[in-house]
Subunit: 246 residues, 2 copies
């Protein structure tokens, strides 16, 4: 009888090895095969020198999952890796969907990681200490009208708002529209944190306001966190108070 | 001249050592002193045998921060630890506030961790693959009316909703009201995941619906994740699809 194959979907955290979990490291080390988008494979190159590696380009998510399943069916332990937490706009869902559609009984285990909002928040201070909404501005897979609707409600609810995928070469206007929508409910001087490459090489941190946020560089490596009505700035750190009386 | 003191605010992750980050471990190991709520100190007891430890009971958050600052002022490196991510309903904000109020120039660094929503999500499958709102049902520090308002908007926006602090001995009604509010916008058969002790000893995972969720045990060690209108259940796993066409 063949050894049973298994799939781990592993969130590597923000990219710097330091913020990977011990379990993510252990699972990668015990895997026979590693599958992932090339950029993520490069982050762990030194950990996987003795392993079979399948790396592929962007927007090949379904192919990567299909490949992962085929390898697991051969009785191998496979880690499908992605950055951040694989369960937040990552590979966890599509991997489970591919296994389900194939009616396979291969076991899939999701290994959680530090997602971009938590990494960016740590570099900014404490902006998500209170209720927050996480919204991706990518309309590649989601109707833009739904994204706009969620921005409206997140604004009305005075949530702190974490924006993933705020801008890319092909998507320039989305962050402008998002800002306009949030400005219907949030003041011009609402504190905004912009973190590029959060908790990895080349990190840049900008603290600004809804009024001025578009004067700063925002790209696909950036997470934008917009405060709630109580968020304030002190000693260069953003704080969204939880309500303690000092 | 004294050695400069420093404060790390460290998120230990869900509680099981495996899901702590390498950086959290490294920072604790290099600290002179560890401060924290007793339950969290117990989680890392074996790592801190050679260190000074100050543990205290619940609801002593401000005292813990004040103590942490006093120790750092003596030139020591102090880790203030809490579970999950210290930046999400944790100790990061209040620590920064205490340092700011004391007009101290002691440096504070926040070390991010895996927060409860990400840990619970991994055990449920992939429920937070799309936009989500994180709401704490604890009204100890927040007006209940604001919590209700946010529940309404999260429901209207068809967000996946992650509920922290859903219930405790002294707060029994909040989860009932939250469910009623979400039912104004979400269907009775909306998938709900209930995870107690996510990714640590004694984990229990229940998958149910908004209709039936109150038939299951929910307490202060539980995270509740309520799906969006597309969330579905397959092979015992919750999937909120991101929109890939299989």
């Amino acid at each position: 009888m063949n050894k049973a194959g298994k799939i781990f979907v592993v969130g590597l955290g923000p990219g710097d090895r330091a913020h990977m979990t011990l379990e993510a490291k252990a699972v990668i080390e015990k895997s026979d095969v590693i599958v992932g988008y090339k950029t993520y494979i490069d982050l762990i190159k030194d950990m996987i020198e003795d392993k079979e590696v399948f790396s592929s380009g962007m927007k090949k998510e379904i192919e990567r999952c299909t490949e992962t399943l085929e390898i697991a069916k051969q009785g191998k332990v496979v880690s499908l890796v992605s950055s951040g937490d694989s369960g937040v706009y990552g590979m966890a869902g599509i991997m489970l969907e591919v296994v389900s559609k194939a009616e396979s009984d291969i076991k899939v285990e999701i290994i959680p990681g530090v997602t971009a909002s938590n990494a960016a928040a740590a570099s900014l201070g404490a902006p998500i200490m209170h209720d927050y909404a996480t919204i991706s501005l990518s309309d590649l897979l989601t109707d833009w009208s739904l994204i706009e609707k969620r921005l409206h409600y997140a604004g009305q609810g005075d949530f702190v708002v974490c924006l993933y995928n705020p801008k890319s070469k092909g998507r320039q206007k989305q962050i402008e529209i998002a800002r306009e929508i949030l400005l219907k409910y949030k003041k011009q001087d609402t504190i905004v944190g912009i973190v590029k490459n959060a908790k990895r090489d080349g990190e840049t941190v900008v603290i600004t306001t809804l009024k001025d946020m578009l004067k700063h560089e925002i790209d696909m490596f950036t997470t934008v966190i917009v405060g709630n009505s109580n968020t304030y700035l002190v000693n260069g750190k953003i704080i969204t108070p939880r309500g303690y009386k000092l």
